[in-house]
């Protein structure tokens, strides 16, 4: 099989362009504006070639391999023969700039090599040094089927909106890992993390999780400036409804400020954001340091996928600490009104001390985790049902098949010794198997027979989640007090939020008014000034 036949033409053409560009970049070169753009491999996203060069330069050593020279090997599905092998010589780790096709006889492969990749790598390394005097720091082994899947993925991706592309890409990665079609040695932490995620999901499609989350996101149009001393770049992300009847599409663009006519020299973060917001016509613009994002992602992938409470708390603490570090670690335009001192003063007169700079990053995860442990126990099985009551507005909640109609998705979370050990999707047919099963009580009994004692069932309505995500995440910078209180009030309605059996915390939410709940929890959520 020839090289040309093996790889998707468009992918190959783009890849060669990348190599050519990379080979012309000299160490110390800075961003140059060029007319011709290149695509990020496996996506239709077109970017300035230098930006891609830069992304590889900062991300590859950090997340994949920090040494030079990479060898790609394509082997037959039975693992008995090498189909092709390519050597990428890299002056800088991760910067692929030249490709060399190896003759067949240089690398020999045995069926067992795929199982003992370290031994295989050492043998290759020895052979390469002897025969060609070359060293490689990393090998990537693709089975023939992996190439087929990559080729299939590349077909027609130019016309796909970003959300559909993401689903396709996630499915591709999951298949490659699940079917053991790709291995890399030395195994980077990120690959191990992906493998753990896939194994943790136990056959459940990661893309299905995306399909649950995506409709919950409101329409948005944001830009994020990733700041650094060397090269700043902008991510323009937009979720747009073409018409009410059609599904919304996600659009993503990556660019450097120069491309939209912004010269960032001597501009401060807020000035950059104002210009970016103006040029891209986005609702808001964020500024985040690249180093902070990389550090957060590094921490995230270093976590065990069996999510331990301590790890989850640590990540939550880091995230909340980042959130409270407004105008230190991140910037936002328009400036959030919650940082307006006059507004805060008036709110304080009514008994609300809202100071997001004093957001208690350490006490919030602590409170949540301790309440969770004591109420649900250290070992528990919790069924989370995502309902869609908007779809069944006309059905009376007392109707015998109300529950059946409103259930959209159901996920079973299994926790053992404060660690999330399993998530599985429960098909609707398994929840409501016959006519007798119409109540949460009967669902709990039925599932307890199959999966063991079910501690709780939590029902959350889509509308509540959509409002919550919109108001408290995307529009967190706006006051919108009435809308926010209205959303909190939804927590009190069984239709939108329900915990079965009704635990003390649920009763507390139900019993107290939204304002009284805020007054009770705010002193925990916001730190006093004394320390």
């Amino acid at each position: 099989m020839s090289y040309r036949k093996l790889i998707n033409k468009k992918f190959q053409k783009n890849w060669l362009k990348i190599l050519k560009y990379n080979s012309n970049v000299e160490l110390g070169d800075k961003f140059k504006f060029v007319e011709e753009k290149i695509r990020i491999p496996l996506t239709p996203i077109e970017v300035n070639p230098y930006l891609l060069y830069y992304l590889f330069e900062i991300l590859y050593p950090k997340f994949i391999n920090s040494q030079q020279n990479i060898l790609d090997i394509i082997i037959s599905d039975d693992g008995k023969r090498v189909i092709k092998s390519y050597l990428y010589k890299t002056k800088k780790a991760g910067i692929h700039e030249s490709i060399e096709i190896f003759p067949h006889d240089i690398i020999k492969v045995h069926k067992k090599d795929y199982e003992d990749i370290e031994k295989f790598y050492n043998r290759i390394l020895e052979g390469l040094i002897k025969k060609k005097g070359e060293r490689v720091s990393s090998i990537r082994v693709f089975k023939e089927e992996a190439i087929n899947l990559i080729n299939q993925h590349c077909v027609g991706i130019e016309d796909l909106p970003f959300d559909a592309l993401l689903v396709k890409f996630i499915d591709l990665v999951q298949k490659l890992v699940e079917q053991d079609l790709f291995i890399i040695y030395p195994e980077p932490r990120i690959f191990l993390f992906i493998k753990d995620v896939v194994s943790f999901l136990n056959g459940y499609h990661l893309s299905s999780l995306f399909k649950i989350i995506y409709p919950l996101l409101p329409e948005f149009n944001i830009s994020i400036v990733f700041g650094s001393k060397k090269l700043q770049f902008i991510l323009h992300l937009q979720k747009k409804f073409v018409s009410k009847s059609e599904t919304p599409y996600l659009r993503l663009k990556l660019m450097v400020p120069n491309e939209i006519g912004i010269k960032i020299d001597e501009l401060d973060e807020n000035e950059i954001l104002d210009l970016v917001r103006d040029r891209l016509q986005t609702d808001n613009a964020y500024y985040i340091n690249q180093s902070d994002i990389i550090s957060f992602l590094t921490d995230l992938i270093n976590l065990s996928v069996n999510i331990k409470k301590e790890n989850l708390m640590l990540i939550m603490q880091k995230f909340l600490f980042g959130f409270r570090s407004f105008e230190k670690h991140w910037f936002l335009r328009p400036k959030p009104v919650s940082y307006n001192n006059l507004g805060r003063f008036f709110l304080r007169l009514f008994g609300f001390n809202i100071n997001l700079r004093k957001f208690s990053h350490w006490a919030i995860p602590d409170l949540i985790s301790n309440i969770f442990d004591s109420l649900f126990g250290l070992n528990s099985k919790i069924l989370v049902i995502l309902s869609d009551t908007e779809r069944c507005k006309k059905i009376n909640p007392n109707n015998y098949n109300y529950l059946e109609k409103i259930i959209d998705y159901a996920l079973l979370f299994e926790i053992e010794n404060k660690t999330l050990v399993k998530i599985q999707s429960i098909p609707k047919e398994n929840l409501i198997t016959n006519e007798d099963i119409k109540s949460l009580e009967s669902i709990r009994n039925k599932l307890s027979e199959k999966y063991g004692f079910l501690s709780s069932i939590i029902i959350i309505d889509k509308l509540l989640l959509q409002n919550f995500i919109k108001l408290f995440i995307f529009d967190h910078y706006k006051y919108a007090l009435l809308a926010k209180i209205k959303t909190l009030k939804m927590l009190k309605k069984q239709k939108f939020f329900y915990i079965f059996p009704e635990s003390p915390i649920y009763k507390l939410i139900q019993k107290r008014s939204a304002i009284s709940l805020l007054k009770l929890s705010m002193p925990i959520f916001i730190d006093k000034h004394e320390f």
Binding site: L378, E416, S455, F500, P504, P523, I524
Partner: protein, 490 residues
């Protein structure tokens, strides 16, 4: 009434498995099947752990409970009842509603018994006399060793009595054994050891509280002994327990011990977990009373061998000073098990649920026991228990010296300064130190301690405790307290 089990044929099975349910069923099979314990038409009462409306492992593992109920029904049990008295002040009805127990057990063909009659509390127009009548109908007065107990009639009347016990670490007895589990067959009122008016050193040095407690536990246990005892430590809460605290860790051992004699099952459990049985006072006293057998030769051990299961666990912190709370220095004097137990729970509660409160209020000294060490330069002093309060009546920290000269601050007597000659002498006034919070009781009641802490520090300075107080009000309902009192429960 004293339903002594046959001490000649004691059988204990040690089982190890992959899941709690499978392990339990294997254990029953090893003992000869459930029909060896349950006969056709029996009324069965299952005593399980039911402390708070919380999850596992504070309460029993419901997967095992489910299997036990199903097994009893299969063996032909006419009626299967379940019950236990929860933590002081909480009604069974409250727990049942929060955990939906009534419906859950009913679906399995069993019935939860509201031993405190709290299922009647919601009925309107129920007067004191009627509550008394209900109480008389549901309880029998039993006298053991000259002590009277109100004992649920339903347990006495049941043909078979089973204890299913979740083994967790315990601050006083190292482990929550089945003998301890049986104690909550009587209400918290009858579990109370009572206050001692004239505390003397002998009371503390002999740990009279623990001796009285052991005697009380065994009195209750002797009223109705179980036919089948299950010590479930497939999962065991170690380090801090028996409730879930910050330092708690759930250890998976995969082991369940079960048999026909509680004392022997407890003994084997201790042995497996490498806890010294020679000096274990509860077991020794039970043996003396003839409630079981601690002679290993006379116990027919089935299933796994003890030596094959070598388990070590982390027990509760025996020194209160080592619980390590932020901004609290603990000084213990000589103390009894009563105060130790309550302080252990209070300190662990604070460590778990009051992190922000502890950060907001620096420099606290927590004094407990008889004649604890004097605290030095602490802003707040908490005196826990009658012993600490009485024995520190004349301590230096009780008084402060205030100088009358302007701009002088509070200073202690040890730092007295006399200025010489021509300078005016400062007037020193002795005033009472108001930064002392007394938490009275022998031992103090934890819920009462929460109230006193909130009063002393103020709600603004204790946001965590204020939040939990609101949550607690839903569990320990003030309206129910009076009814529980009439019912003889608290």
């Amino acid at each position: 009434m004293n339903d002594h089990s046959d001490l000649k044929n004691i059988e204990v099975a040690i089982v190890k498995g992959d899941t709690p349910k499978e392990t339990f069923l294997k254990g029953i099979e090893i003992l000869g099947g459930i029909s060896k314990f349950i006969e056709e038409g029996d009324q069965v009462f299952i005593k399980f752990n039911l402390c708070f409306p919380t999850g596992f492992p504070t309460n029993t593992n419901f997967d095992i409970l489910d299997s036990l109920i199903t097994s009893c029904k299969k063996a032909g049990a006419r009626k299967v009842y379940l019950g236990s008295f929860p933590f002081k002040g909480i009604s069974i009805d409250t727990i049942s509603k929060f955990l939906n127990l009534k419906e859950y057990f009913s679906n399995l063909g069993a019935e939860i018994v509201f031993l405190d009659n709290s299922d009647f509390f919601k009925k309107k127009k129920l007067k004191g006399d009627q509550l008394n009548e209900i109480r008389n109908k549901s309880f029998s007065t039993v006298t053991i060793n000259e002590k009277e107990y109100l004992f649920p009639k339903i347990i006495i009347d049941s043909d078979k009595f089973i204890i299913i016990n979740q083994v967790n670490v315990n601050p006083v007895f190292k482990l929550n054994l089945s003998l301890l589990n049986s104690y909550s067959m009587v209400s918290p009122k009858y579990q109370d050891i009572g206050s001692y008016e004239n505390l003397d050193n002998r009371y503390i040095s002999n740990d009279q509280y623990k001796q009285d407690l052991i005697s009380n536990i065994l009195n209750v246990f002797a009223i109705k002994q179980p036919k089948l005892v299950i010590n479930d430590f497939f999962y065991l809460l170690e380090r801090a327990g028996p409730y879930v605290y910050r330092d708690s860790n759930l250890k998976k051992t995969g082991v369940i011990v079960l048999g026909n004699n509680a004392l022997s099952v407890d003994l084997i459990t201790l042995k497996i977990l490498n806890i010294d049985t020679q000096n274990y006072d509860l077991i020794l006293e039970a043996n003396q009373r003839g409630l079981g057998n601690i002679d290993f030769q006379k116990i027919n051990l089935l299933g796994e061998k003890i030596e094959d299961i070598n388990l070590t666990i982390n027990l509760c912190e025996m020194k209160l000073e080592n619980i390590n709370l932020k901004n609290i220095k603990v000084n213990s004097g000589q103390l009894c098990s009563g105060c130790y137990k309550q302080a252990y729970h209070l300190l662990n509660f604070m460590k778990t649920y009051m992190t922000k409160d502890l950060k907001y209020n620096p420099n606290n000294a927590f004094l407990i026991g008889n004649s604890p060490l004097e605290p030095e330069r602490f802003k707040n002093i908490l005196l826990f228990g009658d012993c600490a309060i009485k024995s520190t009546k004349n301590s230096n920290f009780r008084k402060l010296e205030k100088m009358s000269k302007k701009n002088t601050s509070k200073k202690k007597s040890t730092k007295k300064k006399h200025k010489s000659g021509s300078q005016k002498k400062e007037k020193i006034k002795i005033i009472a130190n108001k930064n002392i919070l007394e938490l009275p009781g022998c031992p103090p009641d934890i819920l009462n301690c929460f109230e006193l802490l909130l009063q002393y520090y103020g709600k603004k300075n204790l946001p965590n405790l204020h939040f939990f107080e609101n949550l607690l009000e839903l569990v320990v309902k003030p309206k129910e307290k009076e009814k529980l009192r009439v019912m003889g429960v608290i």
